[in-house]
């Protein structure tokens, strides 16, 4: 049994290392504008190998200025949402907690909308999103108070705070001019299509740092998931480390949300799928969630880019697929894979 489980984990880690890269290369082939696969390959090889073929590929602009930033954003945002979800579930000892149930997502969305509509991006949307994401999660913790480890209390507080920020978001929409409103609504539904290298220059490093830090904290999450009294008796500064994890989760989620809009359910579904495959140990769950979240969002984006003649907002797809999955998980909760 031990051997089987170890082999399974080893296979999962190998897959996690390879899958996002393979999917990235394959996804470069997919898009509204059809590029022959051979041309895609030669363009990639030209870019990677210095002095490959002399003449510049006519497809280089589409591949590297339009597709590549979008695909990288999908990978990073997927990893950010999944890793934040896994970390928050551990420290709240609650498998149903994720960015949404703590108000982080709509707090971030409100902050980014404020920046886009009223400040003309003078304050970067990422920064505004982070400030309000932290405000939202602190509000949830304040409302939940001492009962924060109880599932119902934290979910209820999260619902209240999310509702408040959704209302504030509607208020922003009300005051936005028609042109800004249109792009705001499309962004809110979740889309990776607006990614430019300028946006990513700030977003990707921040997500990279946040996700890396949470992956490094993976074993600590096991300790924190035992409960406050227990972790304290084991010598952990519980308050400080929990705030660190919450801050990192809010930072990564807010950075992603500021560019992609609201993409739901990744943070809940992915860690659960990973736990079903390899067990509850966060030393495995957190890094594997990063790879799985990245891969899943990339594939979801490939689907919305190609499934219809128009682009389906990715937030709608993740909800339509995520909610039935969530119901199945809820029915199964209490089983050993939790």
């Amino acid at each position: 049994m031990r051997g089987r489980r170890n082999r399974k984990s080893a296979a999962a880690f190998v897959l996690a290392a390879i899958l996002p890269v393979v999917l990235l290369v394959l996804s470069l082939n997919i898009g509204a504008y059809r590029i022959p696969p051979k041309a895609v390959w030669s363009t990639i090889i030209d870019a990677v190998v210095p002095g490959g073929t002399a003449e510049a590929s006519p497809y280089a602009d589409i591949l590297f200025r339009i597709r590549l930033p979008r695909l990288l954003l999908a990978l990073f945002a997927g990893a950010a949402l999944a890793v934040s979800g896994a970390s928050l579930q551990a420290i709240f000892r609650n498998p149903l907690v994720f960015e949404f149930s703590l108000g982080i997502s709509y707090g971030a969305a409100f902050g980014a909308a404020m920046s886009l509509v009223f400040l003309g991006r003078k304050v970067p949307p990422q920064a505004a999103a982070f400030v309000f994401a932290i405000a939202a999660v602190l509000a949830v913790l304040l409302i939940a108070g001492k009962a924060a480890s109880q599932i119902v209390t934290i979910l209820l507080s999260g619902v209240i705070v999310s509702a408040l920020f959704q209302a504030l978001l509607s208020l922003v929409e009300l005051f936005a001019n028609p042109y800004a409103l249109q792009s705001l609504i499309f962004w809110l539904m979740g889309s990776l299509g607006q990614a430019t290298w300028d946006d990513l220059a700030l977003t990707l490093p921040v997500i990279g740092v946040g996700v890396t830090a949470l992956i490094l904290l993976r074993w600590r999450l096991n300790v924190l998931s035992l409960g406050d009294d227990e972790a304290r008796a084991l010598g952990v500064d519980v308050r400080r480390e929990k705030m660190l994890v919450i801050g990192l989760a809010a930072l990564t989620t807010a950075s992603a949300t500021a560019v992609t809009g609201v993409i739901s359910w990744i943070g809940l579904i992915v860690p659960h799928l990973v736990r079903m495959a390899v067990g509850a140990d966060n030393r495995k769950v957190v890094p594997l969630s990063a790879a799985a979240g990245a891969s899943l969002l990339l594939v979801a984006d490939d689907i919305v880019r190609t499934a219809a003649s128009f682009e389906i907002p990715i937030g709608i797809l993740t909800s339509v697929v995520g909610i039935p999955l969530f119901i199945v998980l809820l029915k199964r909760s209490g089983k050993v894979w939790l």
Binding site: V223, S225, G235
Partner: protein
């Protein structure tokens, strides 16, 4: 290591635990007994500094426990809670490894040395071969052993065990108490254990502390302090004592 409690007071709601002065002997088993709500678990949590007491001091070898940073405290004092409600179903070895938290920086994971300490702890409690078993699939007795193993992996000189035998059948109850004795005798640990089973306390403890209503009623070696008047005073029912073959039995 010796524990000395000085003018300890802890209150929540209507309950107050008040211990003017109390010592726990080095490398001995001390059983804390008393009726429900007497403050046994509260005393233990104060000793573990899980709840810092609003008043008073707990000294370990003359050092004020609350003045120590968490890591140093955890290396002195290990705490085994009553069977806690865990959310995640970790494997036994992964669970025991969390006892190493005081030795591992926040951004690091356990290394080979930590794994050895965890495996050694599992061997000592007799659970070798259980490494990869999911915690939720264990019996109540096995779970208690895992909790004790985790505190052993913590390598603290003092072990505080909160009702480790509650809900166990007589055989598992005896096994846990044998293990508690071995911790003091073989490993030289100072063990404080809260118990409801008086017969277990009399048989396995070097010292007993009787608590009632948040106050210490009596303390000392079982055969010296235990008499019918004390039992009546602590538990409000009549119990008889019979000495048979050098052992003192409690009869109801």
């Amino acid at each position: 290591m010796k524990i000395r409690v000085d003018r300890l007071a802890f209150s929540y709601e209507a309950f107050t635990l008040c211990v003017p002065s109390l010592t726990f002997a080095d490398a001995k088993v001390t059983a804390v007994v008393g009726p429900n709500g007497a403050g046994k678990s509260t005393l233990l949590k104060c000793l573990a500094a899980v709840h810092p007491p609003p008043k008073g001091t707990v000294f370990v070898n003359g050092q004020d426990l609350s003045a120590l940073p968490g890591k140093s405290r955890a290396r002195l004092v290990g705490y085994v809670p009553q069977e806690p409600a865990f959310t995640f179903n970790y494997a036994v070895l992964g669970f025991v490894l969390t006892g190493r938290a005081a030795f591992i920086p926040a951004l690091a994971s356990p290394g080979r040395h930590d794994l050895e300490a965890a495996r050694e702890a599992l061997r000592f409690v007799g659970l070798d071969g259980f490494e990869e078993r999911p915690f939720f699939e264990l019996s109540s007795g096995e779970r208690r052993l895992v909790l004790i193993a985790r505190t052993l992996a913590q390598q603290s000189e003092i072990l505080l065990l909160d009702e480790p035998t509650t809900f166990l059948d007589p055989r598992h109850e005896s096994e846990i108490m044998e293990l508690v004795r071995r911790l003091a005798v073989e490993k030289g640990k100072t063990v404080v254990v809260t118990l409801h089973a008086l017969d277990m306390a009399v048989k396995y403890a070097d010292e007993m502390v009787f608590l009632k209503g948040g106050a210490v009623v009596a303390a000392g070696p079982p055969l010296q302090v235990l008499d019918e008047r004390l039992l009546r005073a602590v538990y409000d029912i009549d119990m008889g004592l019979v000495d048979v073959g050098g052992r003192r039995l409690i009869v109801r």
